[in-house]
């Protein structure tokens, strides 16, 4: 079964809602996240829906190296999400700080603040990579179903 088929098969079972937060990205990865939701890639056909409020979302899609200004907000948003919750770090700077690592106003990757479940490297990531990561995350959920609180 192809990757997309797997994702679609899973999507039939469940429909994860995502929320997107920019913690200090250059905007490159953010537009790719939105791109993944628009007709060419259309994540929505897998049941993935973008949500406005963290309280409604299952997956936090986070881009960018965390700046000092967004640090507390990121934590807050993560705390507001209901469990089970998952975090995807999109882009090299979300994974490690990337090119902005060691800037005075940057704390580093998303995982310096909140736990991350999936890392997508790339600067900028391609929408295909985002789809891949989401499907992998979903597959791993299948494996440890119910274990995670």
């Amino acid at each position: 079964m192809g990757l997309l088929d797997k994702a679609i098969a899973w999507g039939e079972k469940k429909s994860p809602w995502i929320i997107h937060f920019n913690a200090g990205a250059c905007n490159g990865c953010d537009i790719e996240v939105v791109d993944a939701l628009t007709p060419q890639y259309d994540l929505e056909r897998l049941g993935i829906l973008q949500q406005g409020s963290p309280r409604h979302a299952d997956v936090l899609v986070c881009t960018g190296a965390v700046t000092l200004q967004t640090r507390d907000r990121l934590k807050q948003i993560y705390d507001q999400m209901s469990t089970p919750k998952f975090v995807i770090a999109v882009g090299t700077c979300a994974c490690t700080g990337g090119i902005f690592d060691s800037c005075y106003c940057v704390t580093g990757g998303i995982d310096t603040i909140i736990p991350v479940d999936a890392y997508i490297p790339g600067c900028a990531v391609r929408p295909e990579a985002i789809i891949d990561a989401v499907s992998k995350l979903l597959a791993s959920l299948d494996r440890k179903e119910g274990k995670r609180e």
């Binding site: 490159g28 537009i31 007709p39 963290p54 190296a65 902005f100 800037c103 600067c123």
Partner: protein, 406 residues
């Protein structure tokens, strides 16, 4: 949300909010449905890029500068490269200028299509949002073919460009231009005839020519008020010295005017790409660039999709810049934001904000240092003295570095 004794409501929006992709926060005081006061708080995206540039060498800086903003990355590197080439006295090959021009116009196309989508999303016209983002993919695919990456294509380098345009690729570009032209003409038609769209956009977020001058707004915001502020026209650089641009202006002075300006600019970009591809000369695409710059300073301007982009470099003769300053167009356009919002309906707030095509990652440059209650902003001289003291404490005498007076 909090209600005050005078029954006015203060509505905080952001920094995480559904309508914009980037963190920015607004405190809006409402009298009923009317916006009485709007306070804009930005700076969530401040990463310290200028200082990062100052502690790396020029070649490394190019990659950081590219990541100031993922939407108009080419405009930023073009500006930075031009400043560098100016100081180094490099003679850039003509073909390189043309390639920069073509990529720059493609970038304008994708940025304006992106804007059109976001703007239509803000007014609840999601069909158009999906249409424009679908069409935008055509441009992104081209950019990926040219530079190997959909965003941050890394085409520019000091002394020219890194990627040549093959004949087939140019054919592809022309082909996409034909496809896009048809679609953009349709959007232009839509923008001038669709009554609901016009009714929604007309008369809001007004910025008259005097206001534009007062707030020093740039780009489509200024052009929508009839002020010809297009660096490609008023101070042609690179390829635009040879291929003149027909600047687009409008006199609606409102969000509708900004929409028209952007849609017409896309058609102009397509024309420019066609002319550039027709006229592109043969030859080398880059010259060897030095690692170090002679001491001195320079300031260059280019026209990014959102307006005038300014880069300033000061060099002390080493391979690292002494000071880099990036003034992105959104930074100029934010000044008039509160003024634009005040007096309009709450429902118009998202589209008025979107109408300047704000880019937070471009904007968030400056930082103000505050300690407790007595806030203070250090001037450049104070910072310099502070730096010198710190170095002296570490046993280094920075006095030997000669810098031209500022």
């Amino acid at each position: 949300m909090s209600e005050r004794n005078d029954h006015k409501v203060v509505l905080p929006i952001g920094p995480q909010h559904p309508s914009l992709k980037e963190p920015g926060s607004f405190k809006i005081t409402l009298d009923g449905e009317k916006v009485e006061r709007a306070v804009v708080e930005i700076g969530y995206n401040h990463r310290g890029i200028e200082k990062a540039c100052e502690s790396r060498n020029y070649t490394q800086d190019l990659y950081i500068i590219e990541r100031v903003c993922g939407i108009c990355s080419h405009a930023h590197t073009s500006c930075f490269c031009q400043a560098f080439e100016d100081m180094a006295g490099l003679e850039v090959p003509r073909r390189a200028y043309y390639i920069r021009g073509i990529v720059g116009e493609l970038e304008r196309l994708h940025s304006h299509l992106l804007w059109l989508g976001v703007a239509s999303h803000e007014i609840g016209f999601d069909t158009l949002f999906m249409y424009t983002w679908r069409d935008r993919e055509l441009v992104l695919d081209l950019l990926a073919q040219i530079g190997g990456n959909r965003v941050n294509y890394g085409v520019n380098t000091f002394g020219g460009v890194r990627r040549d345009l093959e004949a087939d690729l140019m054919q592809d570009i022309l082909h996409v231009c034909d496809q896009l032209e048809e679609k953009i003409k349709y959007y232009a038609d839509l923008a001038t005839t669709e009554t609901t769209l016009i009714a929604r956009l007309k008369g809001i977020g007004v910025l008259t020519p005097e206001d534009v001058r007062h707030f020093s707004a740039v780009g489509p915001v200024a052009r929508a008020a009839g002020i010809l502020d297009d660096i490609r026209v008023v101070e042609p650089y690179g390829v635009y010295k040879e291929i003149p641009v027909n600047a687009v202006t409008d006199d609606h002075c409102d969000v509708y005017g900004r929409t028209l300006v952007r849609v017409k600019e896309m058609l102009e970009s397509i024309r420019l790409i066609r002319v550039m591809i027709r006229e592109i000369p043969e030859g080398p695409i880059s010259v060897r660039a030095p690692r170090k710059l002679p001491a001195g300073e320079t300031l260059r301007r280019v026209e990014a999709p959102r307006g005038e982009n300014i880069h300033y470099i000061r060099s002390n003769g080493s391979d690292m810049p002494d000071r880099v300053r990036v003034r992105a167009p959104s930074e100029a356009n934010w000044h008039g934001m509160s003024y634009m919002l005040e007096g309009f309906q709450l429902a118009d707030v998202p589209i008025i904000i979107a109408a300047i095509d704000p880019c937070y990652s471009c904007t968030d440059r400056a930082v103000s240092l505050s300690s407790g209650r007595d806030e203070q902003i250090a001037s450049w001289d104070q910072l310099r003295l502070f730096g010198i003291e710190q170095y002296k404490k570490n046993g280094i005498d920075p006095g030997s570095i000669a810098i031209r007076p500022f």
